[in-house]
Amino acid sequence: MPFNQDDTRFYRQDVDSRGQTMSVDERRELLERYLPRPSELRSSSAREQVRDQKRKQRRSRRLRPYLKQRLHLAIYLIIQLLFGIFIRVRQIVSALFQKFIAVRHYHHRTPAYIQKDLKGLSRLPEHLSVILRYDARSDDGLETLLDDVAELAAWSTAAGIPLLSVYEKTGVLKQYMSAVQEIVQQKLVLYFGAPPSTPVLQVFAPNYPSLSPLPSPQINGTTNTNLNLSLLLLSESDGRETLVDLTRTLTEMAQAQKLRPKDITVDLIDTEISASTSVPAPSNNAQRTNGHKKTNGVKHDDTYLPSEPDLLIVFAPVIKLDGYPPWQIRLTEIFCVGDSGGDVSGRSRTRVEYQGFLRALWNYAGAEFRFGS
């Protein structure tokens, strides 16, 4: 328990004098008054303690700790009950709030509305990343996943975000890369109109050959829009496995005497990892000079889009990264869409909704930045 008033004052006096006021014994006395008996901490779980107590329960001397155990158990159950109710209430409130925002700001499949919702934001992410979950057990899991990806792509393009990376743990999206491209292209046509005003879409996945953009039905094949979107698909194998692969390559080089272990620096690994998920910037890159200031001080090559996400949206009730590549999210803002009921354990899919996307971007713009110092 925290110190009482007099002890606090004494302690702070000691701190101010850089440890000269109290002697070792005085300090020990001070602390010992507050430390619990070691026997209380000995067994890690309370159930073990209850068992121990039961064994010694015969003597009435042990009655008090036993009663205490029982009391604690009762309180635990009461708390869990009350807390369960509290969580449900919170879920309802949050669901109502989200519905309110959804009604007030709906995209109507029109980029102009989306841009109006995002007007006046001080900054927008250049690399937006989302974590989605594929529900393999339901019948239309893949369809809904593809549709979600398409919607997110359309919203990001309308917002002027050049790179969207989608992380999905099992990597099912990578297997259906051409389907992804088709469906996203259809959605873009729906939002922006038929080519030539459709934004240019490119789909990438690390270690997979990138697909060429779908041929537009125009004869000359040019587009009159400077909007484009690069879509990067990530999965669990781009996380730890990539680092393990890099270690293996470095070990091989070291065994062949081409590399000394002390040459391995943070920069070396950084270069390699960013190269593995790098996406070349498209040629008509007018969006990147739209006046939004560079957020983190990382300098990157202008021929490649930034490999570190600026904002990561987790479409789940709690933030669990679930295998997302660890190296790149060093300075990424992480936003959780919130718990609105439905999937308590996080195992089923959270719906991807426009209001979640909006709230994430609003939150990002309002966030302060303080880089180390």
Partner: protein, 415 residues
């Protein structure tokens, strides 16, 4: 000194003995209640918000850090009483060296004093089985702080009931890089070769085993005409070289010895000519692999010749043997991290409303860790903000367990 008190009257009420006693009893009760559920084994804290607190309450930044230390003591007490095994705190980042010299010096000073004081209470720590570990890039610290760190750590090394990891100075990328470097160092160290006289002593001899095998195969061959002859040479034990090379041996040993010799020379030439590419792994494997057709281990002294004893006159190329790099997995890298001996991270809490990881525990928390961002500043962080986080963690853990049991029940029914 400025005001450290929220409101004088409220503070006066709260610090009167009956109120204090009541609050303490309540705290004990709540902490005791927590222990009846599932408790996270490893919790990490990012202690953010000291300076902002100092700014808003108009006190010195250093005072803010001192208050932060008090908050840390409170939270540690709650954690350990609840049964958490390991607590990791982010005390100082390598990026924080960019702060003003005055602040950095004050922080180092504070660390040194606290660690020295800690080392004076050795038996107190031993009583509770508490140990403290300092994780981070030691080369950036001044020697006097390093000395205090080492003393505190070595004094409590043998305790393992509860662990406090202080990340000072620490950056997760640096930790991962160090782990990779250590792995590479381990795998680039040549495996010690067995001396010619010191063979592995075992009651089983190769000759006898080979004879048994040969007679076995003869029997099989006699009984089954169509079965292909398996060369006894394929079953050479690799003696004391690494076992993974044996798989290469069995693949290669079908060729007769003189062809093997040519292969060896070819491989040598390839290995030397191959200056830039690291693509094919076979060229970097030492040529002794192919020499396993001869049984005595003398051929493993480093000379690349496959011919037995007679060709020891050839100058040894002294290509050392290494552990196979294909064995490197994420568990290997995990074991070289600073937190290798700790249980997996269950809960990561960051205060002061900032929603970034800021280079903390990236490798450890990117799988199943629950990340919580709280809007309270670190010096104000207390049991009342921490308990709801624990409750929620327990509640979700229970729900997941129930869900898991339900799913398993369903799957069993389907099957």
């Amino acid at each position: 000194m400025g005001s450290k008190q929220i409101s004088t009257f409220r503070k006066w009420i709260l610090s009167s003995p009956p109120a204090e006693w009541a609050l303490n009893q309540l705290r004990e009760l709540l902490i005791g209640a927590i222990k009846h559920g599932k408790v996270p084994r490893h919790v990490a804290f990012v202690m953010d918000g000291n300076r902002r607190y100092a700014r808003t309450h108009r006190i010195e930044t250093v005072e803010g850090h001192n208050l932060g230390f008090e908050a840390l003591a409170r939270i540690l007490e709650v954690c350990y009483k609840s049964g958490v095994h390991t607590v990791t705190i982010y005390a100082f980042s390598i990026e924080n060296f960019k702060r003003s010299k005055h602040e950095v010096d004050a922080l180092m000073d504070m660390a040194k004093i606290k660690l020295t004081q800690l080392s004076q209470h050795g038996e107190l720590l031993d009583r509770y089985g508490a140990s403290i570990r300092i994780l981070g890039q030691r080369s950036l610290m001044k020697p006097d702080v390093l000395e205090a760190m080492d003393r505190a750590c070595s004094m409590t090394e043998h305790n393992d009931k509860t662990v406090l990891n202080v990340c000072f100075p620490y950056t997760s990328r640096d930790e991962i890089t160090t782990a990779v470097r250590r792995t590479v160092q381990e795998y680039a160290r040549p495996v010690p070769q067995p001396q010619p006289g010191h063979e592995r002593r075992t009651p089983f001899t190769e000759e006898r085993i080979k004879n048994t095998l040969r007679s076995q195969h003869k029997n099989e061959q006699d009984s089954n005409e169509h079965m292909k002859d398996i060369e006894p040479t394929a079953f050479h034990s690799p003696s004391s070289s690494s076992t993974s090379l044996a798989s290469e041996a069995s693949a290669q040993s079908d060729t007769p010895p003189d062809q093997q010799h040519d292969l060896v020379q070819e491989a040598e030439a390839e290995a030397e000519a191959d200056a830039s590419s690291v693509s094919s792994s076979s060229t970097t494997l030492p040529p002794e692999v192919l020499s396993s057709s001869s049984s005595p281990p003398t051929s493993y002294t480093g000379s690349p010749t496959p011919k037995p004893l007679s060709s020891l006159a050839k100058p040894p190329l002294s290509q050392p043997q290494y552990k196979n790099f294909e064995d490197i997995s994420s568990a290997t890298i995990n074991s070289h991290l600073f937190t290798a001996s700790d249980p997996p991270l269950d809960l990561l809490i960051r205060t002061s409303g900032v929603e970034r990881l800021s280079d903390f525990m990236l490798w450890q928390c990117h799988e199943h860790t629950r990340i919580v961002f709280l809007n309270v500043l670190w010096p104000e962080f207390d049991l009342w903000q921490f308990l709801p986080v624990l409750w929620e963690w327990q509640w979700r853990a229970r729900k997941e367990e129930q869900m898991g049991r339900l799913l398993m029940g369903q799957e069993v029914k389907v099957d």
